[in-house]
Amino acid sequence: MSNFFGLLQNENMKIYRRTSAKVMIIILLGLILTAGLIIKLNSPEPKNDHNWKQMLVQDNKNMEKQMASVKGNKQATDYFKKTIKMNEYRIDHNLKPAQGETLWSFVQGAGSNLIIVISIFTIIVVSTSIASEFDTGTIKLLLIRPIYRTEILLSKYISTLLFTVVCLITLFIASWLVGGIFFGFGGAGEAHLVYDHGTVYQSSWTLAVWKDYLLNCVSLFMMVTFAGLIAAAFRNGGLAIGLSIFTLMASSIVVSLLAKYDWVKYVLFANTDLTQYTTGSPLRDDMTLGFSLAVLVVYYIIFVLVGWLFYTRRDIKA
């Protein structure tokens, strides 16, 4: 493993020297800019409201009434409780609620909407990295070095995940800048309130956004691994890209169609959205975070094992 760093350098070179990688980054930047423009043009100018404290007090009163009327509905009660607590915290700490789009709300929105794009890009990158060497025949010169195939495959996998990290950092910086330019850099210092079991505290937006990224990347991670498996097993990049992106797109429909069955909880895509546990409404009541993590680990091990077996055992006939 001494020259594993060299292998990573090689794979990185092969990812970023391709035109496709540059195009992907440009598309990502273009999408962020376009999203910023559209939101900017469609959102009204925020009016300067000096009476915001009184309005929050009024809001809380209204909500307490509503809460009394929906007694027994735990979900609604929780929501009202949370909002009331947050409002009280704002009044106590003199934190004016943001109005309209702000730098951070834009960063957050860009994250939840564009990670699917990064998923598609990473699926393309991993499939190309693994399968294209069979198409072009370069695999024959790659595998006749004193390096085990396992190390080659691992370097391809890790360099792909590094590509995701590069995309996420690009997304974060670009959406922060675009958000700042369109909605004011003044919003950079905005407080991020977190409600946790009845108490409210302030946290960093950066942390919150990266936590979002991470949660959204669970399905990315699984689908990229799946694409790697298909690419390694069938040595066909087009098939790996097509199948993985199709599965990724169809997953939410399939899960909602199957939601009535008990066994849906064993379907991969019923478990990739971990935000279902942070928002408090899992797909099925008997599902827990631990259960989902266990399902994810089992799928992951199967994907990696099958892909690895095919990649390392099959003859190279390309």
Binding site: L7, R18, L141, I144, P146, Y148, D315, K317
Partner: protein, 312 residues
């Protein structure tokens, strides 16, 4: 040769190697040895299993049976140690087209410890690509790609060099240079060179020994010179009546004449028996205008050994 071989340790040794794919035997019990300091040619018609054998030697394909040793290391059991000794081009030298020639070489250099930038430039100069090395490979001609392929195979000073169809795409000057270079590598640096080629005349000039593969079996491993000389030599005789002459030889000596036309016959006959043939013709009152031994080319011999199957 036999004595010589026994003294030397083989650089590559195949022991009862077989390869079966889906119940079909592609390679059948192949055993032979290749020594340091020799150029070994691999010959065989299309589908004979040359490429499969080369792929098994470099570990791209697993053998169903047997073992292959490179400098004493099993390609199965000690893959890294064995493959470290090997530089190879398998079929076409397919490089990364979106990278420059230099980036391609850097890529392979990173996979083996101890290859300096100086060594890379040394190899680049050797294959005379220094003017174009920083251009993308997609702009290279076939000959330049072939030379880049040779460069990547030589980067790490391999003691076994395997080149599949190395003269493909090279111009006559390039072929000449490559031939000289391969000879130099084998003589001076004691490298074992394995080449496969469909250009038999090229093999004749390039190789010390050749192994002929047919239908997955080794038909013979011989020194190039012995290979050509072996078997009955041919003699061409100019006579006044070809048909009569052939008839006389068939009746008296029971030798089948291979080619007959009006005034010339050609027949296989050992060197020392040529006077007997001449005597027979004279006794049969046939006039002889000329007798010439016909040197057989590698191609003739090859067709003879493989039963007249055409090559690639």
């Amino acid at each position: 040769m036999a004595n010589n071989a026994a003294e030397k340790k083989p650089a590559v040794r195949l022991e009862h190697v077989s390869k079966r794919i889906g119940g079909k035997t592609i390679i059948d019990d192949l055993s032979f040895e290749i020594y340091s300091g020799e150029v070994f040619g691999f010959l065989g018609p299309n589908g004979a299993g040359k490429t499969t054998t080369i792929r098994m030697i470099v570990g791209l394909m697993r053998m169903s049976q047997g073992n292959i040793y490179i400098q004493g290391h099993s390609i199965n059991g000690e893959f890294k140690k064995a493959i470290r000794q090997v530089g190879a081009i398998v079929e076409n030298p397919e490089m990364y087209k979106f990278l420059t020639g230099y980036q391609n070489l850097i890529h392979y250099a990173r996979m083996i410890p101890g290859i300096s930038k100086d060594r890379i430039m040394e190899v680049v100069k050797l294959v005379e690509l220094q003017d174009r090395i920083h251009e993308k490979v997609k702009r290279y001609s076939l000959g330049m790609r072939q030379r880049l392929g040779v460069a990547q195979a030589l980067l790490h000073h391999p003691s076994v060099l395997i080149l599949d169809e190395p003269t493909n795409g090279l111009d006559p000057q390039g072929i000449h240079d490559l031939r000289n270079y391969l000879h130099e590598l084998s003589r001076k640096e004691n490298v074992a060179v394995i080449v496969s080629s469909h250009l038999l005349s090229e093999m004749q000039l390039m190789c010390d020994r050749i192994g002929i593969l047919q239908k997955g079996k080794l038909v013979g491993v011989e020194k190039v010179n012995e290979f050509i000389e072996k078997g009955a030599a041919k003699v061409r005789i100019q006579v006044d009546d070809g048909r009569l002459a052939a008839q006389a030889i068939k009746e008296k000596l029971a030798i089948e004449t291979e080619r007959i036309d009006e005034t010339t016959i050609e027949l296989p006959v050992e060197h020392e028996k040529i006077p007997v043939v001449v005597d027979t013709l004279v006794l049969s009152k046939i006039r002889i205008y000329g007798v010439a031994a016909v040197a057989k080319s590698l191609e003739d011999r090859f067709l003879e050994v493989t039963g007249g199957k055409s090559v690639e």
